[in-house]
């Protein structure tokens, strides 16, 4: 029983990082109805900028965090201009293919920037963790959980308490109608992208600080985890992204603990496939499927 709860706790903490990445995906998908495959790689490149600062300039952990997040946002802006702003609105598939080749580009830039495979990444706290009764929580995990909750609150306030959030939701509902209200979808999309990249940068920093290393494979890995979490929870739904992320973390932790590492990824994909087939739109996304069936039939 102690094992079970401890594994669940570990799963929840890694799951909260997945949830953050899924939030970034949801934000972009919600506004544009397009999928950005190079979301993970842009986080990876941001993290490489961070680790470059750490290795060559011996920067402090907080500075590494700032460089990582700023780098991710910069790369995110580049991706948005090239793959989404430049390509016509009705060519959603063309955007996806473009974001995929950008991903190859970003991986190449990362390997040119730092030609080795694995680089160290500074940990957040020197002291190990906290004990609660028989359970042990790593400090990084506590931070990840706390930051994920904080970002959720911020996102919620941004979307439902500000004029920008109102405009964003209007564009998400119908960009044609939003234009008549004097909202510029291009501008809103751009800022949604920047904000999503910011969330991604935070998630990337937290994940990598817990791992203490970064490799070029992180990009693909992050894209997948984010996509799975978003799909499990529900397409375009913010609570769905959180639930999906946490669920994915818990499922992975348990299968790894009880069935071994080889089965871990297999189970995650199997669960995803079953959820998508039995309940298209994810666990919390049923309503949105009907509403936007027309909108994303094309992509």
């Amino acid at each position: 029983m102690i094992d079970f709860i401890q594994t669940t706790l570990d799963g929840l903490s890694i799951g909260s990082a997945y949830a953050l990445i899924a939030l970034g995906f949801t934000l972009v998908f919600g506004v544009m109805r397009r999928i950005n495959l190079s979301y993970g790689p842009s986080i990876m490149l941001g993290a490489f900028a961070g680790t470059w600062a750490f290795v060559t300039l011996e920067a402090q952990p907080w500075l590494v965090a700032v460089v990582t997040i700023a780098g991710t946002v910069a790369v995110g802006m580049y991706v948005e201009r090239l793959c989404f702003w430049a390509i016509r609105k009705d060519a959603a598939i063309a955007s996806m293919v473009s974001s995929f080749v950008i991903w190859m580009q970003l991986e190449e830039v990362a390997t040119i920037l730092l030609p080795g495979r694995t680089y160290p990444y500074p940990e957040l706290f020197k002291f190990g963790g906290i004990d609660i009764g028989p359970y042990f929580l790593r400090m990084e995990h506590v931070t990840t959980l706390a930051v994920a909750m904080f970002m959720l609150v911020v996102l919620r306030l941004l979307l439902y308490r500000t004029r920008f959030g109102l405009a964003l939701r209007a564009v998400s509902e119908s960009s044609e109608a939003a234009v008549y209200m004097g909202i510029s979808p291009v501008r809103i999309t751009f800022w949604a992208f920047v904000f999503a990249s910011f969330i991604g940068g935070v998630a990337g920093y937290l994940l990598l600080a817990a791992d203490q290393q970064v490799t070029p494979y992180f990009g693909l890995w992050a894209t997948f985890k984010g996509l799975i979490a978003m799909m499990l929870g529900g397409l375009g739904s913010i609570p769905g992204a959180i639930v999906g992320g946490l669920l994915l973390g818990v499922i992975e932790a348990h299968t790894q603990w009880y069935l071994g590492n080889a089965v871990k990824d297999l189970t995650a994909y199997l669960v995803l496939f079953l959820v998508l087939v039995l309940r298209p739109g994810g666990l919390l996304g049923q309503g949105i499927v009907e509403r936007h069936a027309q909108a994303f039939r094309r992509i």
Partner: protein, 309 residues
């Protein structure tokens, strides 16, 4: 010369893979499961020729058939999801297949040599061509025989009712359904056809490369498979062929001298191509112009919707 023969084999195999995604794209399904069927075809035909010592033709045939069978089985649940959800569900399928082969260990002793898939080490020594004295020219001709057959078949399908039905489902499902098209049958057959072609391509790949492992069948290859027909345009099967030659011949091999910078320029060129021609290199207008030039200008309804993509 060996280099060009190798390149020709790659182009042929990738064309088949692209065409398997092309059929599905005609019906409006963006599937990344093609690489899963490709992997199934590669492993099944490899196991048949290596462990059971089949001739390559029945080996390829059975590999393609098993690929098609799995595609048929995936086709039904895939009906329930559309668009982005189909993309992710098919990624999940491909990854399940990849991880299955990652864990597959089936070592058998054939003629005193231990052969077969060796989980993480991959499946080595698929040496049918070498063992039977085929030289590279034979292999190239063998691969291109299948490419020509499949392309001719698809080109012909586009000229008859079947092609119009596929495109009708892709253009507007609701309208197609109200005109009496059986959506389920069309989509599942397209998926099965795509699976058969992908399985065939996988079998050819395994024997050309003589070595397969799970890393080959990543999402990278799956995305390449759908990128070819999208880049080439859905108006004609030749679009896919031209896109494969453009990507494999010009962008990948032609720019090898650039070294590390190749991938960066590669990405940029594809993005420019997608920006300039969002409906693909060979879109409806080009096809129409070619037909007029050849004097075979047939004003069929096939092109109209292709431009809206």
């Amino acid at each position: 010369m060996a280099f060009y023969f190798g390149l020709l084999q790659t182009i042929g195999i990738h064309t088949l893979l692209g065409l398997s995604a092309y059929i599905l794209l005609l019906t409006g399904q963006l599937s990344l499961a093609q690489v899963g069927f490709f992997a199934i075809g590669a492993y099944v035909s490899g196991i048949l020729t290596v462990i059971f010592e089949y001739h390559i033709v029945p080996g390829l045939f059975l590999g393609a058939l098993v690929g098609g069978l799995f595609a048929f089985l995936v086709g039904f649940p895939a009906l329930r999801v559309k668009g982005l959800m189909l993309v992710v569900a098919t990624i999940a399928f491909s990854e399940i297949v990849r991880l299955f082969f990652f864990n597959l260990n089936w070592r058998v002793s054939v003629n005193g040599v231990e052969v077969g898939p060796d989980s993480t080490q991959g499946f080595r020594e698929i040496r049918f061509y070498a063992a039977n004295g085929w030289d590279t020219l034979d292999v190239v001709l063998f691969v291109w025989l299948f490419v020509v057959i499949v392309m001719a078949l698809l080109w012909w399908l586009d000229r008859v009712r079947v092609g119009a039905t596929l495109r009708a489902v892709g253009a507007d499902e609701l309208a197609a359904q109200s005109s009496g098209v059986n959506i389920v049958a069309v989509k599942v057959s397209a998926m099965t056809g795509g699976g058969i072609i992908a399985g065939l391509a996988g079998g050819l790949y395994a024997h050309s490369a003589t070595y397969v492992d799970h890393l080959t069948f990543s999402v990278l290859l799956a995305t390449f498979a759908v990128a070819y027909p999208i880049l080439g345009g859905l108006s004609s099967v030749f679009g896919t062929l031209i896109a494969v030659i453009f990507v494999q011949g010009v962008l990948i091999e032609g720019m090898r001298f650039l070294g590390d910078w190749r991938n960066i320029l590669f990405g940029l060129l594809i993005i420019i191509a997608m920006n300039v021609r969002p409906a693909g290199l060979i879109d409806g207008k080009v096809v129409l112009r070619i037909r007029e030039a050849l004097g075979t200008g047939k004003k069929s309804g096939g092109e109209g919707h292709a431009e809206t993509r």
